[in-house]
């Protein structure tokens, strides 16, 4: 049964190839089905592998399946091989499941698009790359998947490439990712220099090869990679821009899967993270700060997808914070729950805008609950889940994270708690603006846009929404604190052995924290309800500083953008034209000029040639004379 695992990335790859070769011929009607079936097949294989893994005793759940040797270079043997252990199977399971749901949704959402087939081609390729990333048994193959998802993200964000803003956003996403990739490369170099091999199992067996300083540098390099991929400070600006892509893309890539790759990498290298306490502190600080900053930015957005984008950054900050506090299982738990409810929220936002012919400004929505009951229902589930209202999934998962942080870094716990309050606040604001209040969509817009007619989403879009709603609500069941025999923690603990917090201690403390979490969540909802009920905009609640993203983009533009452009211009005009072209042309003109000077010897005068001959003869004789004397 376990041998099925190696075929998991193969199914979406096959889908990609089939659509690439025959997509046009198959036609729009069947391409979407082919793509969805491919991803669903890999989900089935994931489930099969999971049952196979369960059949092995928990201490030995670490199987490597090698396909072939890719880079045999002396002592470094890099294979294309998959590591099947609880962590990778967990990731595969929820990745494939959510991908299947989103593929199904896209069949309805992308109907009528000109590039329908291309969309599914990219989506399948993305799932392949993500599976390779998650299942790889060595850092190089992880990097391959890492780059693959980055490339697919670029293609999908710039899907409407004729729009200037979409193309720019695609480039921005890719460049920021690339900056983070430097971190992963540095980490690989450090590991190879110390350990000599890039396989995870070998690395973890040779942890003593890292001195404390090396371990800190390695972890910081990994953190750089994670901030690039998972949109943390200082590389988070790309995620709001990537909302230019179609909504399923935002749901899949920028909520559920690609952005979790950074967290996954850190969890996979958890043994190394344990070696450096300073680096873990840095990780936690970055996570907490990002969560807070992004939550403040989300509180003032007017675009329905932008709120969710900043919310994603904020929730990823929570996950990174958990990793920094050493609570890897909590991070994975939150990742799974977040995948469900964030995908749900994105897809329902997509249903809203699809129903309003593409309108995304919340100022033009309102009272949609009367026209789109199903969408409203699932949105409420997602809203309450993310706010952390018990007994929905985020209450348990975010609660686990906050518990762990409380134990390690109390100050960061306070910050994270305030961020939870803000989370409830901005989600409630989003709900009231969109679904309650007066209907603003059937009046002409502020800039003369015509009135819109709202309609509910078709069934092919509603089914995934409902399934995800069930998941968002019930994902908390995966890791209830009082259930010890089965659950995510038991499943994952062998992977992180020794690094877990112990949830069995201090039950009263746990109850106290749980009550605090619930109060914060409800309080946030209440405050937002009171402030935003019936209102469309409130200037004092939306200060400029926040709407301009704390001027972060402007900061980067001034520090990096303008000097970079100036340097590029200087290089293009001065260095390229004058120095390089001058050197190359100079060689040519040197040849020409020296030839012109040398040709003056050929005067055509016989007597001068005779003179030269005589001169040569005289020189020869003098030379011989020198030798003789």
């Amino acid at each position: 049964m376990l041998s099925a695992a190696a075929y998991m990335p193969l199914c979406p790859l096959l889908g990609f190839l089939i659509l690439l070769a025959f997509g046009r011929r198959i036609g729009i009607k069947y391409s979407g089905i082919v793509a969805t079936v491919a991803v669903a097949a890999s989900f089935v294989l994931a489930a099969i592998s999971w049952t196979g893994l369960l059949g092995i005793s928990s201490s030995k759940r670490e199987i490597t399946q090698s396909l072939f040797t890719w880079l045999p270079v002396g002592s470094l043997q890099v294979k294309v091989a998959f590591l099947i252990d609880p962590l990778s199977i967990t990731m595969c399971l929820f990745i494939t499941f959510i991908s299947t749901m989103i593929h199904l949704y896209s069949i309805g959402y992308m109907k009528g698009e000109r590039d329908y087939v291309k969309f599914f081609i990219y989506l399948n390729l993305f799932v392949t790359a993500m599976l390779v990333l998650v299942m790889a048994n060595n850092m190089v193959l992880t990097f391959v998947g890492w780059e693959g998802v980055g490339a697919c993200s670029y293609w999908l964000v710039a899907f409407y490439f004729e729009k200037e803003s979409a193309a720019v956003a695609g480039k921005k996403a890719f460049v920021y990712n690339r900056i983070g990739d430097v971190g992963l490369l540095l980490a690989m170099f450090i590991v190879f220099a110390r350990v000599g091999s890039l396989d995870y199992t070998t690395i973890f067996a040779h942890l003593s090869a890292f001195s404390p300083l090396t371990a800190t540098m390695l972890v910081l390099a990994l953190l750089l990679a994670a901030t690039g991929k998972s949109a943390q400070i200082p590389l988070f600006n790309w995620l709001p821009g990537s909302m230019e892509g179609p909504t399923p893309v935002s749901a899949l890539i920028h909520a559920a899967t690609m952005v979790t790759a950074g967290v996954y990498l850190l969890c996979r290298m958890s043994h190394v993270l344990e070696l450096s306490a300073h680096a873990s502190l840095v990780i936690a600080i970055i996570g907490a700060l990002t969560a807070f900053v992004a939550a403040t930015m989300a509180s003032v957005q007017r675009d329905i997808k932008a709120v969710l984008a900043y919310s994603t950054i904020s929730q990823l900050g929570y996950m990174i914070l958990a990793v920094g506090a050493g609570a890897y299982v909590a991070a994975i738990f939150l990742m799974i729950a977040h995948a469900f409810y964030k995908a749900l929220l994105f897809l329902s936002a997509g249903a809203v805008s699809h129903g309003l012919d593409g309108e995304r400004d919340m100022g033009r929505m309102g009272a949609l609950r009367k026209v789109m009951p199903w969408t409203t229902g699932v949105f409420i589930v997602g809203w309450l889940a993310i706010a952390g209202v018990p007994p929905l999934s985020a209450f348990w998962s975010k609660g686990d994270v906050l518990d762990a942080v409380f134990r390690h870094y109390p100050y960061l716990w306070a910050l994270a708690l305030f961020t939870a309050f803000l989370t409830a606040y901005y989600m409630t604001r989003m709900y009231t603006l969109t679904f309650t209040g007066e209907a603003r969509y059937d009046k002409p817009g502020a800039d003369g846009a015509p009135a819109l007619h709202a309609h509910e989403a078709p069934w092919v879009m509603r089914i995934p929404l409902l399934v995800l709603a069930v998941g968002a609500a019930g994902a908390g069941l995966l890791n209830l604190p009082w259930v010890h025999n089965f659950g995510l923690e038991e499943f994952l603990s062998p992977v992180f052995h020794g690094a877990l917090y112990n949830p069995h201690e201090g039950t009263s403390l746990l109850w106290l924290l749980a009550i605090v979490d619930s109060l914060v969540a409800v309080g946030g909802i209440a405050v937002a309800w009171m402030l935003w009920r019936g209102k469309v905009s409130a200037a004092n609640l939306e200060p400029d500083f926040l709407t301009h993203d704390w001027y972060w983009d402007d900061l980067y533009d001034t520090v990096f953008g303008r000097p970079g452009t100036a340097l590029a211009l200087f290089s293009a005009t001065t260095i390229d034209e004058k120095i390089l072209d001058g050197a190359v042309n100079g060689v040519g003109s040197l040849a020409v000029q020296s030839a012109q000077r040398l040709r003056r010897i050929q005067t055509g005068q016989v007597r001068q040639y005779a003179l030269l001959i005589t001169g040569g003869m005289a020189a020869l004789l003098v030379f011989i004379l020198m030798r003789v004397f």
Partner: protein, 101 residues
């Protein structure tokens, strides 16, 4: 038999030098040719001197062949001069300089 061969050799060197000087200085093609003949004669004088010194008839045989070749060379050379003169009506070596760079 009794004159030291060094005298002959010095004489031949002087003759050679005068011939070389003539080639370099005179502009008339025919006179340049005659100076080349002077140089050849200097060589033949040297050959004969060494033939006597080394008691070897090969030196004189070489002179024999030098004579033949010099004659042939003069024939062809003068033919070329005639051909050039027909085209350009000049016998000045400085004027025939079209093969220049």
């Amino acid at each position: 038999m009794s004159i030291p061969s060094s005298w002959y050799l010095i004489l031949a060197a002087l003759l050679f030098g005068i011939g070389a000087l003539g080639v370099l200085i005179r502009r008339n093609v025919l006179i340049m040719f005659m100076c080349i003949e002077l140089m050849l004669n200097a060589a033949t004088l040297t050959f004969v001197t060494f033939s006597r010194t080394l008691n070897d008839i090969g030196g004189q045989a070489d002179v024999f062949f030098i004579l033949v070749v010099a004659a042939a060379e003069v024939v062809v050379g003068l033919g070329i001069v005639v051909a050039i003169f027909r085209r350009r009506s000049t016998a000045d070596a400085d004027e025939i300089s079209s093969m220049e760079g």
